[in-house]
Point group: none
Chain length 416, copies 2
Amino acid sequence: MKELQIELIAVGDEILIGHTLDTNSHWIANLLSEAGLRIRWMSAVGDDANDMRHLLRHAWNRADVVLITGGLGPTPDDITRPTLAHFFDDELIERLDLRALIHDRFEARGLPLPYGCEIMAQFPSRAQPILNREGSAPGIHYSEEGRELFSMPGVPSEMREMMTEYVLPRLRQRAQGVYCFHLLKTIGIWESQLYQIIGETEALAPVQLAYLPSIDHGVTLRLSLAGTDEAAVKDELNRKVNLLRHKIAPHVFCEDTRSIDEVLLQMLRERGERLAAAESCTGGLLCHRLVSIPGSSDVLDRGFVTYSNQSKIDLLGVRAETLARWGAVSEETAAEMAEGARRAAGVEHALSVTGIAGPSGGTAEKPVGLVYVGYSGPGGAVVESRRFSGSRDANRRRSAAAALTLLWRQIKDLSA
Amino acid sequence: MKELQIELIAVGDEILIGHTLDTNSHWIANLLSEAGLRIRWMSAVGDDANDMRHLLRHAWNRADVVLITGGLGPTPDDITRPTLAHFFDDELIERLDLRALIHDRFEARGLPLPYGCEIMAQFPSRAQPILNREGSAPGIHYSEEGRELFSMPGVPSEMREMMTEYVLPRLRQRAQGVYCFHLLKTIGIWESQLYQIIGETEALAPVQLAYLPSIDHGVTLRLSLAGTDEAAVKDELNRKVNLLRHKIAPHVFCEDTRSIDEVLLQMLRERGERLAAAESCTGGLLCHRLVSIPGSSDVLDRGFVTYSNQSKIDLLGVRAETLARWGAVSEETAAEMAEGARRAAGVEHALSVTGIAGPSGGTAEKPVGLVYVGYSGPGGAVVESRRFSGSRDANRRRSAAAALTLLWRQIKDLSA
């Protein structure tokens, strides 16, 4: 069985000079992946006809399907349409039907036709236009020599509509065989520790195992398998997932694409309970992560960014003696911060973080990277310490992740 | 003068299957762009030695400099190190110095060496290791046939440190001739508004003008000029900077690489004054941005993430009548939040943000994207409203930037 070989090309200077983050390629990769298809080559090219022709030559040689985003608009830096025509030894001809569609689109909105817009009706003679329901530039579909090329606009909404409605159904039809994957998302354990537990992966063959570590979101394990018979592939994959899950179950927080933040919010929502957070060195990052998730307001009640000692006393009721005796970065302060946040907010659960993020501020006894994360809940308070050794940014992000890990373990225990 | 030809390759199945958005490439493109360097080819490749060798062959043929991110970790799917050695017809040898560094790294944290970690000390014999200050996998630097290849870890913090400290200085040195640039960093004005003010750029020639917009940090204008004689280049550049500065001065917050956050903290530090923040829809993001800057603790006193109405009443003294009559997202609530934060913290300045970040929660009267940012200071309170039209993430980030812009204008007026 031969897997469909897909190549994806993003066109535009704005990507190469770092003005635009290429979210289109990520979105397409994700869409195809969920459909059991896989991109083999991915690249970006500037608004340069020579560079684009070069890349097209490679792509057309090695891939079954070439997907292109960007460069279809009406301005002179939009070169995809003429470059494709040239590459396929084709010519651009005026398509009255496309011209009418472009006119209609502006007329329907009561707008005058923008200068230069009609150039988008100059269309390669042997290609098929892809209807643009979200904008005015038509997509381009070449089907030649047993291969296919789909060229779509770079505007995300227009590209997404074409991918979903036009391209994906055609790829599904073309694809032979199946590709399945399964995720085991872990938190609170390093990649190397997981590797030690899991050991050699020969027993998993032919299933492939990939480690995907993230400073914010733990380590995701992805198991994948390609084959011809969907039932057989799924069956084999499931057997190997079970084998692996068995070894690392205590560290797995979910087996789908949700983040630890989403899982925690959902766990608390299901329990009908609420959360507060008291942050010193993370300075709002912990709350920011949770608030990033739509609908977090029914779980996260409030947060305290208690950066100064006085604010810890005022807002959280941390005792001045505790601060004087043990310091702001201490197990005792972390516990009082969490307890204080829980009490002040009148909620079931509270987290606290206090530490020395660096780059300065450390001592021999309390070095840069020393962090305490605290939890207060119905069963009392728990504090854990960590020693990180990264930059200020990394230490703060690891601290927030450690606090969420602590919360996850506590809620899991409560729910067990 | 020939421009340096740079190729960037991101390694990892996780990019091709859409699990990970490749922010590394975007970050590098941006960093190089600010330094006047440009990436010509950008691509992603999976954890497949054959595909990687193919890509390396092309890259090594056409580029002067090849940058690689990812695939340097200790697990079997990390194939960059052996693949590079194979590509360069080199061999991996055990480097005791690297082994010691890896050991030290874990020992310093009082941790046992994770299983498999020592494989990272197996290093290509002809390559130069790049010190990893943020993690344990060393980077790889090949310098052969007049070309250079830098291979860095995919962990963003580790890659960023290597790019800034090791790679960029070497690329700068390699770029021939002199290249000078000057930044005019603006905030609180859109790219299109700036474009309208500045108009055609012929008068600036031969100086190049680039607009670098950022959702978080305003629009940076970069003026650059390349040449052979440094004094002449600087002189010409300065004349054109003066020409441009004159037109947009009220929007320029600095002319170096500092962020608006750093500039604000410094302005307040010089005044010996302190800041507090009350956040609803930004949910900690505003504080997080400020705390990201080392030394922010002498300016930022505390923050309130007042997500629920009750927390706005409890912590900030927002009146229940105000919430009932005008709603949580209103000019009145924003003003009371800022005033309450300033009072509660006992500081000179306070910011507030309240809005509807989306994707849901909007009404006809108060649509998604409506945000109020408030300021309270010695001279009273000011509230501004904004109507954003992006995603939840974009709306929250724009809200935080709007609050910082408001603060900057206020402090600038006070200091004038």
